[in-house]
């Protein structure tokens, strides 16, 4: 267990360094730089060089990276040259929106997917085909298109929920729930299918094992065999899939935030991409990577708790 966590951390540190370094190297390779972006089309060579010096762009890439890294370790992610705002502050103020979306979507997808997978493993027939169909749909339907369909049906036509915007839970809890309902459903579609499929396959495998036959033959309750024994065995790979799903949702949220005009990190990422606002992009990349690292750690710990063979090590 401890070894597993250590191993994960050993991968995580180089991962974080790699992601942040990658942005710096790419930045160095590109013609034109932030100074030019800020100045626009009309500038003097002298002003340009001065700005470059101000921003530290005339230093070698590795020196720049070191400055950034030592700042980042102290929690200082720099200042956006475009907006002049502190990158760290911008990210923290938007983090809640994005986390609301992906955490709720993960929970929804896990609950719905596991329930669907268990029922389809036991009942087969129509439920089995439903899971198959759902996983094809989940694979084929782009999340932004599905979001637009939800907006058309539930916001434009039925007028049940707001089409855009985000309400802070501190302001109004019900307003918050209403504002994230459609984006969360849109995000959860594909993950639900993936989790349902893994759960069904895992349950079918577990239910065909010898210990299930022994438990049944010795009179264990069917409910306990399915929900306690088979599901716990099937849950081990499902946890891994839920972790992957969460990482995938970081991609999905960029699109969903765009459709629903959510003030989250996804929207900030797109906006900074368009504006070539590299410090902000870099901050977001590092934030997302930290989230991934934490989720993977959580997955490993859960995995160990569920699987005694891993825990022992």
């Amino acid at each position: 267990m401890l070894r597993l966590i250590l191993r994960r951390l050993l991968i995580s540190v180089p991962l974080l360094l790699l992601v942040s370094l990658l942005t710096f190297v790419l930045q160095a390779l590109t013609p034109g730089d932030t100074a030019r972006t800020i100045l626009g089309n009309t500038f003097t060579q002298e002003g340009y060089l001065q700005l470059r010096h101000q921003l530290g762009l005339d230093e070698p890439v590795l020196t720049q990276y070191w400055h950034w890294l030592s700042g980042a370790l102290r929690g200082d992610l720099g200042v956006s040259p475009i907006s002049g705002l502190d990158v760290g502050q911008q990210i923290t103020s938007r983090l809640g929106v994005t986390l609301s979306l992906i955490v709720c979507a993960t929970v929804l997808a896990a609950l719905a997917g596991v329930a669907l997978g268990v029922v389809s493993a036991i009942r087969g027939g129509a439920f089995g085909r439903l899971v198959d169909a759902l996983s094809l749909v989940g694979f084929a339907v782009p999340v932004f298109w599905f979001s637009l369909v939800l907006v058309t049906v539930f916001a434009v036509t039925l007028g049940l929920l707001p089409a855009t915007g985000y309400v802070d839970p501190a302001t109004s809890l019900s307003g918050w729930a209403g504002s994230i309902a459609l984006p969360v459903v849109a995000l959860a579609l594909a993950p639900t299918a993936v989790i349902a499929k893994q759960t069904r396959d895992g349950m079918l495998d577990a239910l065909s094992r010898d210990f299930v036959h022994s438990l049944r033959a010795n009179g264990a309750a069917e409910r306990s065999i399915v929900l306690r024994h088979a599901l716990r065995n099937a849950a081990i790979p499902v946890v891994t899939v839920i972790g992957l799903v969460f990482v995938g949702l970081l991609t999905g949220t960029v699109f969903v935030e765009a459709v629903f005009a959510m003030p989250g990190l996804g929207g900030l990422a797109v906006q900074s991409t368009v504006q070539h606002d590299l410090p902000v992009i870099q901050g977001i990349a590092v934030t997302f990577t930290v989230i991934v690292v934490l989720v993977n750690l959580l997955v490993d710990i859960t995995y160990g708790l569920l699987n005694p063979k891993v825990r022992a090590r």
Partner: protein, 633 residues
Amino acid sequence: MTASRTTALRRPTAIAALAYLVLVVVAAVAAPVLAPHDPEATDLDHVLSGPTGTHPLGTDSLGRDVLTRLMYGGQVSLAGVAVAVLTMLVLGVVTGLLAGFLSGWVDRIASWIIDLALSIPVIITLLVVLSVVGSNETAAMITVGVLSAPSLARVVRGATMAVKQETFVAAARVAGLPSTRIITGQVLPRVTGPIIVQTAIGAGGALIAQAGIEFLGLGVQPPTPTWGGMITDAAQVVDQQAWLLVPTGLVVGLTVLAFGLLGDAVRDATADRVTSAAPPARRRRAAPPSTQEEPAPGALLALRGVTVALPTSHGTHTVVDGVDLDIRPGETVGLVGESGCGKSITGRAILGLLPRGGELTAGTVHLAGENLTAGGRQAYRAARGSRVALISQEHIGGLDPVAPVGRQVAELVRRHRGCSRGAARIRTLELLESVRLPEPAQLARRYPHELSGGMAQRVAIAMALAGDPELLIADEPTTALDVTVQAEILGLLHRLQAERGMAILLISHDLGVIAEVCHRAYVMYAGRIVESGPGAELFRTPRHPYTAGLVGCSPQRMPPRTPLAAIPGMVPEPWARPAGCHFHPRCPLATAACESGEIPMAEPAAGRHTRCLHHTELTEEDDHARAGVLARD
């Protein structure tokens, strides 16, 4: 491989998917010729028109023809997908082949990079690249290809490692063929199946990614038509003309779906069919009680004419055929025969737990006078554990791997006694002690993988005893264990039986075991009982040539489906059982009379039964043998 690709294309969904993709490619490539309008021609008098005669898929907010724009947009999309897929193929296949084939440090480095790359969210890399290079769709699609490569590399690596183990590749390496020739000539053709599957999935993903980039406005810029850009256009007028979402969404969704279905078809055609993936059939109700003779009074268990049909690779066939079997309270009864004779299925029929799709087509199971067959699933369920229990061949596999063993025993104790947790815990420790497990309190906290085979089997016995059953079915309880442990387990069963007055049905292919511990035994061959009688006597003076053959070789730990030394041939499969006596093709005594008609059960002596026309000849052989022994004396 070629054959499997042909079978993949025999599926209707695969044909439809392929036809659709061809249609999309033709429509995109030939757009300048086929398209009804100019993609950028605006018609402000007919904006957001919906489907009409001149605009079959309607017009957008500038009055541009949607069908035309979809056809031209396909050019961008397909070119993008091609770029991404090519990048993915080159990187993924090369890395995967090298890592899988060379192993060692190349593999370790490649695997580390693959793991690392898979844990970075796709969007991060994509946005970083786009923010640096600007709205450059080719750069974006190359990035998508690079990001898809690790999953492909992982699949190719796994497949390569599997192929490398095969003898012909190993032989080629020993023969000194250069690695490059082995890889291109022998390994690559064998891993194309997984590559095609992964490529199809990658193509679908690339298309979604591309539409996404265009949707965010980070790809090819307007007014050039793109599929993702058209969804953006539709999004802006969603409250005026929702129809626009339909053609744009459908064309993307269907194309991705077509890639996915094609991949599924190839995967299903190349992968071994996994039976567990088949949807479970609902267990059918058992057959109505037969009108055959009532069981003898006083019998604990009585099977009368039990007949079981199971689905096999050759359709549904009868595997257990008219089995009559009695067990008295406290008795140990053996059921012996080679693998594939239907012994275990008979045991499962007693428990009402036939394998999926199996059915009791005739006969009855009476337990202490109660007709379980007539009582249906409820009656069987009520009997399981509390009146009939089971220990199986799988020792460690017979226990739930993720629960401590004590909890598994306690669950059954609580189920059968309805007692409190504390009382169940005390009873659990008693049970573990009664199966001679040392330090039960510590053992109860351990997991199955921490136990030896013999210990696991003792826990399984404790679980079976949790409901104080009157009958214990022991299905090959010692087969998978070491010889010394076998004797301990048999001794334990014997002692438990004496203590509890419990009856045991001992199913085994091991004659020695049966002869040693059983009061009476039944010999089963190809689904039928062929002989029965008192344990030791049955094997000393067999009255059926099959029993005589089993005695002649007395298999110790025979692997299934190997010919017995003393009997030529093997047990016939259920769909190939010969008429008449099923044993006649292997029988030294067989005559024409054995090949037709049902062979009745004869009773050569009190308590002895045999289903053989020539059993008297065996008696004579015995007499001769005895006479020979006497003469020597």
